[in-house]
């Protein structure tokens, strides 16, 4: 699949033959809100460079992030940019080559926002990229611009069962209704919500259960924000010991490529803040 994708990109880029290097820029229309995360997935940004003449040996990538009216809000520092070479007839560069975050310069409120949150303010931007020669910075390829929308996505918040809610065993043995808030704002693809329920065993902390147990429920729910779980668990021990059993539940959000949505927490796993609930006698 990756090879086909690469071949299509290279073929597309070959249509541009005006400059010494032909290029193509592929950028997801809705990339992660944090620019630091762009390098984590290859499909977010690819910049293909084809050297048809073979004349160009070393070059720099000049990248500018602009508003839709063309105002430049950030660019890479060409004086400190890494010298690149193709090492063959063509090469695909990723986000970490095109917008190396340790060599990008932002200004004004955009710098403030990046320093505070790691994200640019939500909105529509464009990324413009071209190849230049070292020293003179003379362009040797056409400028490629792509528009993208940035939104500060927030992972879902589990809402039902509520945190530390105690459910009656007679009701919970048949059905437990799970509800959560959607990924906000809603992306332009259907989000897969992987609903996970873990039992908190004796001598375990809820977070231990989440990180170490097999899930009792592992259900992918696409698009909607409710699921009715029929647990099919025997409760005889619960009744016998007149005690409560603890569970922890959360959601893992996946994008249309079935990859975790990496916005929202620092773990890169798309997992929401977990919630604990109990089945058993109400606490006094």
């Amino acid at each position: 699949m990756k090879k086909i994708f690469l071949a299509i990109i290279i073929l597309l880029s070959a249509f541009n033959t005006d400059a010494q290097l032909s290029t193509n820029l592929v950028l997801s229309a809705n990339p992660p809100g944090s620019l630091f995360d762009w390098g984590l997935k290859k499909e977010i940004l690819s910049y293909v460079v084809v050297n048809q003449s073979g004349a160009v040996d070393r070059f720099l990538i000049k990248a500018e992030i602009k508003l839709t009216d063309g105002t430049v809000i950030g660019n890479n520092n060409l004086a400190k940019a890494q010298l690149l070479s193709l090492g063959g007839a063509s090469r695909v560069f990723s986000a970490s080559d095109v917008i190396p975050m340790d060599n990008m310069i932002f200004s004004g409120k955009y710098k403030t926002s990046l320093d505070k949150t790691g994200k640019l303010p939500a909105g529509t931007y464009q990324l413009c990229v071209r190849i230049v020669l070292p020293g003179t910075y003379q362009p040797i390829s056409e400028e490629r611009c792509r528009i993208f929308n940035l939104a500060a996505y927030q992972l879902p918040i589990p809402i039902s069962p509520l945190n530390e809610q105690v459910l009656k065993p007679e009701l919970a043995q048949s059905a437990i209704t799970f509800r959560w808030t959607p990924v906000s704002p809603i992306p332009n693809y259907p989000v897969t919500y992987r609903l996970l329920v873990f039992e908190v065993l004796e001598n375990q902390k809820p977070m231990q259960a989440l990180k170490s147990n097999m899930p009792l429920l592992n259900k992918d729910v696409i698009g909607t924000t409710q699921y009715i779980w029929q647990p099919q668990l025997g409760w005889a021990d619960l009744e016998a010991k007149n005690k409560t059993r603890a569970f922890v539940w959360t959601l893992q959000c996946l994008d249309n490529m079935n990859q975790p949505i990496i916005d929202g927490n620092v773990n890169g796993d798309g997992i929401s803040e977990p919630i604990i609930f109990y089945v058993g006698k109400e606490k006094n």
């Binding site: 944090s34 630091f36 997935k41 190396p100 975050m101 340790d102 060599n103 926002s113 990046l114 320093d115 505070k116 949150t117 790691g118 939500a122 909105g123 939104a151 500060a152 927030q154 992972l155 918040i157 809402i159 039902s160 509520l162 007679e170 009701l171 043995q173 048949s174 059905a175 209704t177 509800r179 808030t181 906000s184 704002p185 809603i186 001598n203 375990q204 977070m207 990180k211 170490s212 147990n213 097999m214 899930p215 592992n218 909607t224 924000t225 029929q230 099919q232 668990l233 025997g234 005889a236 021990d237 009744e239 929202g264 927490n265 620092v266 773990n267 890169g268 796993d269 929401s272 803040e273």
Partner: protein, 576 residues
């Protein structure tokens, strides 16, 4: 690994012997706590052969050990031990997800295992091994760290420090099964302050975590090596007549990618953390205040988490939000004996997400009410109501998000008795309405759920038997979807072997039907047996079986599975 088991067995036997001696010999030494071993079997048989529509939800075989004695030497010195571990890794989420073979250090630091010893002499506590330390709401409290530290409380002062590993380096492996992998993460945490139980608590907390970039040869793909430092100040005060107030303010500096170059223009807090290109700095704050008395409470809680606030001690904390909640509880309506007949618990709150972004702010409203009344010795009524609303603007979609959920529950209970039996009859009705707006079409889906539950529990005063029965009807209805569930459940419990044993069995039948598909049938049977083998030794066994047969709502039609689960274990109790 075998050496650990051998060593533990020797220690356990020595403690059992010491325990026996301490019972009779001296008051200068005593042991309390428990130790035990349990085995769990899980079986899953699916038909037709090759069908994988239902996946296993437990490991096939698992041994678990717990060893948690507290040795008390005289009045001032104690050694609590907390060892809990399993033989087989089953990590699904988190950094160890997918790991099948673990080396010794990974075994010790795997979150499924805990090895902690906390020797304590008067006000000085040494903390060794796995510790889940909770310093405050905004600093640390959710991670287990394997290492060493102390907790000193001379007079009204406290000084705490702990350092260790929260995860070992694990290489990414494409699988199957895929191992996500993780960088080795070292943690440091400290707290210093002054506190008096029930009066006040003032202190500073420091938390730092740093990934070791060289700890893996095949790095994880969806995460970069990180470093974080959080500093917080907390204060709590308790006043006369039940009034209280608490506050915490925190600042975090977090580097999302340590592999990017250092940058002097980025936030730093030397010598604890130095800025890199990906370093961000933000704040969080929390405030609560209220009054607590025997018959009523009232309180308010505010919480702000900045968009860039990240603390290593709460890795799943949702940033960029502002919550406020007002809650109350009160008793009313005294009976002739002076006890209150009515108890009301209520809360109302609002959460604003995406605070940092004015155009895409999302708002949640949450309201809960629980109202219990014991009218007389026979009749009680519990009514609860929950309302939840979530709203966000459209962004790139034409319509914004709007979800509203309303749940009402009415639960009357009636008891009556004669010389032979006490009867309890309980009815529970739940109505839930969930409205969800489609962000592309603007259409609102009404999702309604009704459920009825009838429970009957007779308690025989002269017989060694305690049965219970329940019947439930559940219906969930959407415009193009309908789910009906009917469950009948019966249980019975009894004692045996001169009341040294307890046996309880339960059987449950579920009928479920989706739309016009043929119904599904499900039978669950479970039994639990506890037997006191001696004054200090208990044997517990739990067996359950779950037979599910689909109608024709899935392909292949009439698919079925049989799930079986057996847990058995021994627990030895130290002390009297």
């Amino acid at each position: 690994m075998r050496k650990i088991f051998l060593l533990l067995a020797i220690i356990a036997l020595s403690l059992i012997k010491a325990n026996a001696q301490s019972d009779t010999a001296t008051k200068n030494f005593s042991i309390s706590g428990v130790m035990g071993v349990s085995y769990e079997y899980y079986g899953l048989d699916r038909k037709p052969v090759g069908w994988t529509g239902f996946t296993p939800r437990k490991p096939w075989n698992q041994f678990r050990f717990n060893f948690t004695p507290t040795m008390q030497f005289g009045k001032n010195f104690s050694i609590p031990i907390n060892f809990n571990f399993s033989t087989k890794p089953t990590n699904f989420a988190g950094p160890y997800a997918g790991i099948t073979k673990q080396n010794f250090t990974q075994f010790v630091t795997n979150p499924m295992n805990s090895f902690g010893i906390n020797p304590k002499y008067k006000w000085a506590e040494l903390q060794l091994g796995t510790q889940y330390l909770n310093y405050s709401e905004l600093s640390t409290g959710d991670i287990g760290v394997f290492g060493a530290g102390f907790d000193l409380r001379p007079g009204t002062y406290y000084i705490k420090f702990f350092t260790g590993l929260s995860q070992q380096g694990i290489n990414f492996f494409t699988g199957p099964p895929q191992t996500n992998g993780a960088y080795k993460r070292k943690n440091w945490m400290a707290s210093i302050g002054k506190a008096k139980e029930g009066k006040y608590d003032l202190g500073f907390n420091f938390v730092k975590a740093k990934d070791d970039t060289s700890s893996v040869t095949t790095p994880p793909t969806l995460i970069k090596p990180q470093e974080g430092f959080t500093l917080s100040f907390k204060g709590k005060a308790f006043f006369k007549k039940g009034w209280y107030a608490g506050i915490e303010g925190a600042q975090s500096i977090y580097t999302k990618d340590l592999s990017l170059a250092k940058d002097t223009s980025k936030p730093s807090f030397k010598p604890f953390i130095e800025g890199h290109a990906s370093t961000i700095k933000d704040y969080a704050a929390e405030f609560n205040s209220g009054k607590k008395t025997k018959n009523y409470d009232i309180g308010i809680k505010l919480k702000y988490i900045g968009a860039g606030f990240q603390t290593p001690g709460y890795p799943y904390l949702l940033p960029d939000r502002f919550d406020y909640t007002l809650n109350t509880r009160f008793n009313a309506w005294k009976d002739s004996t002076g006890n209150y007949k009515m108890n009301v618990v209520a809360s109302v709150g609002k959460r604003i997400n995406n605070v940092s972004n004015n155009t895409l702010k999302a708002q949640q409203f949450i309201g809960n009410l629980n109202w219990f009344t014991q009218f007389n010795e026979h009749f009680s009524l519990n009514v609860s109501f929950n309302n939840f609303g979530f709203q966000a603007p459209g962004g790139i979609n034409p319509y914004g998000i709007k979800n509203v959920s309303n749940d009402l529950s009415i639960n009357p209970t009636y008891t009556w008795k004669n010389d032979k039996v006490i009867n309890l009859m309980s009815f529970n009705y739940n109505y839930s309405k969930y409205k969800e707006r489609d962000v592309l079409t603007g259409l609102i889906t009404n999702n309604n759920t009704n459920s009825f539950l009838l429970t009957y529990v007779p308690t025989f005063l002269q017989k060694n038997i305690s049965p219970d029965f329940s019947l439930m009807y559940f219906q969930n209805k959407l415009p193009s979807f309908q789910l009906k569930l009917i469950t009948f459940s019966a249980g019975v419990g009894t004692t045996f072997a001169k009341k040294k044993g307890n046996l309880r069995m339960q059987a449950q039948y579920n009928y479920s039907k989706t739309n016009s598909f043929k119904n599904n049938n499900n039978i669950i049977a479970s039994a639990n047996c506890d037997l006191k083998l001696s004054k200090k030794l208990n044997w517990t066994t739990f067996i359950s079986t779950n037979q599910f047969k689909y109608g024709n709502e899935i392909t292949p039609n009439n698919a079925k599975y049989l799930e079986s689960n057996v847990r058995t274990g021994f627990q030895y109790r130290f002390g009297q």
